[in-house]
């Protein structure tokens, strides 16, 4: 029998789950608000996915082009998100990002500089001006290290290699989380009146992905089980440029910074096919000749941007189209060529880690040869539905920020808007948690029976006599999501995907991890699999419900954006029968001012912000 009194208990005002940029930002803010703060992370500190972000952090600092302004950043974000973003979140993000970036510098970040000694900014897809503060192509490393080195002096308790299993609730109020130490396999109960989830995405459900094993949708699944809603889950971003060769690195990210620095996409016939793939919405702001694109790269402010810098959904679909039409590269991608656009020294200076990555992993020199690239599952726009200002979900005391939350990016995220999202909403979640905790008079209790049930579910996986290999089940999940819930979708494919998920759920009940509980990756894999399946199912069900194509969600059976659908978000929640339910909810009306800004032409907006100095 399980004796609950033998389980370790750790108590804090708030625990933050996940130690990437969002979790670290949230924990730093909680601590500065005077809260006793615990930071729980699956990996070692400083290894979270933020470390892999390459291109930069978007903020309208205006250091390179002084026409930039929060209003232009906001407009770009809404257009990139196909107007489905939560207006208020996009507003907060654009307004606060510059302050957050400057704060990082205060905490020790060392960004690349302009000639005048200010933080340098580079071009990126969907951003009107050079807007991404960066450090070569290792911006994420700079940000996570800065937050880490600052955070460890803020009185935060860090619990490394500790996996969250499920949330605890007193009634519907959050009261903590059960977790497991990976090293020993022992359990721990975190008691806390507020929990901030910052667990990232669930891209590891797909076969070709830039995500690591950590991206198993833990936060999505824990929140779903606790009664929170997941929103916009149908919008999964396929980054257009992942490596396609050799097979073992299929999906590994190639930064958009390559295109930001002038890289062009070419098919097997040597044609720059993006010129044939310019959507009407962006036509007036995109170069339509190679000559104009070249002038833009040379710094001509009157020239329009090359079509390679269109938003990620557009570029990913265009590459797929070329491959389908038989004009792909030898290993089924497109050619990404920076060598013909920049000299070798510039490439090594601006894109050092790409140079290194291709040299070692693909035995290819990007200063002389073209890379082969293709779409890779990179990011989930959807996530836990939260209040735009406080980041609290509909479960009292449960907060979410960063990739595991939804709403900020709408139907498609712009590159560079993730690192800024982490900083802005990480901090706001910390403020939100502090305000919530001030407002509760009686602290929530931890219910022993709940904790026991969570622990029993986890240990059953080890104790079963025999059962399914978790790694092989995971492979089946990846195959299913790749082929049925991929970059283009139909009702038929999605239904087949859901049917397969139902059978995987049955198999999961028989999953068996061999060996002991001590540092046992097979067991960890099996525990993560529950979360992966929940997250994957929420994507498939949301995708089936949204009968239109918008941003990253493409339905072959419902082509084009449908105005009707602009009024709804799809939410996923656990129904009263315990089954996953999908529903449409009507969106809040934007403030007239935000609506006006988003719909101005770029010329009108440029005149307006110039007037504001």
């Amino acid at each position: 029998m399980l004796d609950i009194s033998e389980i370790q208990i750790i108590e804090h005002d708030v625990i933050v789950v996940g130690a990437g940029g969002a979790g670290l930002s949230a924990a730093i803010e909680c601590s500065s608000q005077g809260l006793s703060t615990g930071l729980v992370c699956k990996s070692l500190l400083g290894k979270a996915h933020t470390v892999m972000a390459e291109g930069g952090v978007a903020a309208a600092l205006g250091n390179v082009d002084n026409r930039d302004h929060w209003k232009v950043h906001f407009r770009d974000t809404m257009r990139g998100g196909k107007f489905l973003n939560v207006w208020r979140m996009a507003e907060l993000h654009a307004k606060q990002a510059p302050t957050r970036v400057r704060e990082l510098e205060e905490w020790g970040a060392v960004f690349d500089r302009t000639k005048k000694g200010l933080i340098n900014q580079r071009n990126f897809g969907g951003h009107r001006y050079p807007r991404l503060a960066h450090v070569g192509d290792r911006t994420g490393l700079e940000i996570i290290r800065t937050l880490q080195d600052h955070g460890i002096h803020q009185g935060i308790e860090v619990y490394m290699e500790c996996t969250g299993l499920d949330l605890l609730q007193d009634g519907d109020r959050t009261s903590g989380m059960v977790a497991m130490w990976r090293e020993t396999g022992q359990f721990v109960i975190f008691k806390a009146g507020a929990v901030i989830l910052a667990t990232g995405g669930g891209g590891k459900g797909w076969k070709v992905t830039s995500n690591s094993w950590e991206y198993s949708g833990d936060g999505h699944a824990m929140a779903y089980e606790a009664g929170a809603e997941l929103m916009d889950m149908e919008f999964t971003q396929f980054h257009p440029t992942g490596m396609v060769w050799p097979p073992s690195v299929h999906g590994t990210l190639v930064t958009e910074g390559v295109r930001g620095e002038g890289g062009i996409l070419v098919n097997s016939e040597g044609q720059r096919f993006m010129f044939d793939n310019i959507p009407e919405r962006f036509a007036s702001e995109t170069a339509d000749t190679e000559e104009e694109a070249a002038r833009w790269l040379a710094g001509d402010k009157d020239a329009r941007r090359p079509p390679e810098l269109l938003t990620r959904d557009v570029v990913a679909r265009a590459i797929r189209k070329e491959v389908k039409a038989g004009r792909g590269s030898p290993h089924g991608g497109a050619f990404l060529d920076i060598a013909s656009q920049r000299n070798a020294e510039d490439i090594k200076k601006k894109l050092p880690s790409m140079y290194h990555q291709f040299k070692v992993l693909a035995e290819l020199d990007i200063t002389t040869d073209s890379m082969e690239v293709g779409p890779t599952l990179h990011y989930m726009m959807g996530g836990i539905r939260v209040d735009a200002d406080t980041q609290m979900s509909r479960v009292p005391g449960l907060f979410a920020c960063g990739e595991c939350s939804g709403g900020m990016h709408g139907a498609n995220r712009l590159g560079g808007n993730s690192l800024s999202d982490l900083l802005v909403f990480g901090k706001l979640a910390g403020v939100g948690a502090a305000q919530y905790l001030q407002g509760i008079s009686t602290p929530p209790k931890v219910m022993d029976d709940q904790a026991k049930a969570v622990i029993r579910n986890a240990t059953n996986i080890l104790n079963r006599e025999s059962g399914q290999n978790p790694y092989l089940l995971h492979e089946e999940l990846e195959e299913n999501m790749q082929s049925n819930v991929g970059i283009v979708r139909t009702a038929e494919l999605l239904s087949a995907g859901i049917a397969k998920l139902e059978s995987l759920k049955k198999s999961y009940k028989e999953v068996k991890a061999k060996g002991s509980s001590q540092y046992n990756p097979g067991w960890h894999e099996a525990l993560a699999l529950r979360n992966l399946i929940i997250t994957a199912e929420s994507v498939a069900r949301a995708a089936l419900l949204r009968e239109e194509s918008r941003g990253a969600h493409t339905r072959l059976d419902f082509p084009g954006e449908q105005d009707e659908w602009l009024h709804y978000n799809v939410v996923i929640y656990k129904g009263d029968d315990g089954k996953m339910a999908a529903g449409k909810i009507e969106r809040e009306k934007p403030s007239p001012e935000l609506e006006r800004i988003a719909n101005l032409s770029i010329d009108e907006l440029e005149k307006e912000v110039a007037g504001e100095g």
Binding site: G46, E105, R113, S248, V249, G515
Partner: protein, 250 residues
């Protein structure tokens, strides 16, 4: 596809041994791919740390045929096709299980370093600091560090002499260098670098530089300049006198 032979360390702090595995390997695979395939197909509970699989996070540090390396950036074709590849955990830190070591000592050391402290008077009215690229090039080199701890693993002072009580190790010497050479930082760390962090114990054999996957010139650009700063401070009477009179950093 080719069948390749491996010896992987299996065990924990109480002891263990190299165990034999054979697995089919595809074109372009790195050692980590092979380890993960063995884990999925033959040894589900084989413990190994990894994350990004692209040399950016520094999680998968191990010793491959005795050499400290990132498993994700070591291609299988670096080895002869009939060569057995043996993989062990990094040795300078205690093993937890199989290929995973307890590197918590490093996190404790990082905490001992006093944080960055900029001079607020350097900010302009918009809140911007000014620094010039040529003044930050050298600290950006140090900030490329991915904390794989391979340099700590190979450092003689830590590995052979187990002087973790006296020397903070190359990783943290370059972190100290990145702070000490930061144009905006105002904190004086030179006494601590000498007394608490043991700069004098490094005998500049450059083994750390040799294993750095980020190719940081740890010794020449980081540790040696720090040693010079320590010498200037503590053994140069003119500078000592100058500072007594005028104050400030060297």
């Amino acid at each position: 596809m080719a069948l390749r032979s491996f010896k992987l360390f299996r065990g924990d702090v109480a002891g263990g041994q190299l165990e034999d595995y054979q697995i089919e390997v595809d074109t372009g695979m790195v050692v980590l791919d092979a380890i993960l395939r063995i884990q999925a197909e033959q040894a589900n509970d084989l413990a190994v740390r990894w994350n990004c699989k692209a040399g950016k996070c520094g999680s998968c540090s191990v010793e491959i045929n005795g050499k400290p390396k990132l498993a994700c950036m070591t291609r299988m074709n670096e080895y002869e096709t009939d060569e057995t590849i043996s993989v062990s955990p990094i040795k300078t830190f205690p093993v937890i299980k199989d290929l995973v070591s307890d590197v918590s000592w490093n996190y404790e050391q990082n905490k001992r370093i006093s944080p960055f402290k900029p001079d607020p008077s350097q900010k302009d009215e918009k809140g911007n600091y000014r620094m010039f690229q040529e003044d930050i090039d050298r600290i950006q080199e140090f900030r490329k560090c991915i904390e794989c701890y391979l340099c700590q693993d190979v450092c003689h002072v830590l590995r052979d002499h187990n002087r973790k009580d006296g020397f903070i190790g190359p990783r943290f010497m370059i972190r100290l260098a990145s702070l000490d050479m930061h144009p905006l930082d105002t904190e004086d760390r030179i006494p601590a670098i000498k007394e608490d962090f043991g700069s004098g114990m490094c005998n500049i054999t450059r083994c750390c530089t040799d294993v750095c996957p980020e190719h940081i010139q740890i010794t020449d650009n980081g540790i040696i300049p720090l040693k010079e700063r320590v010498v200037d401070r503590f053994y140069d009477p003119i500078i000592w006198l100058w500072k007594k009179v005028f104050g400030g950093k060297a």
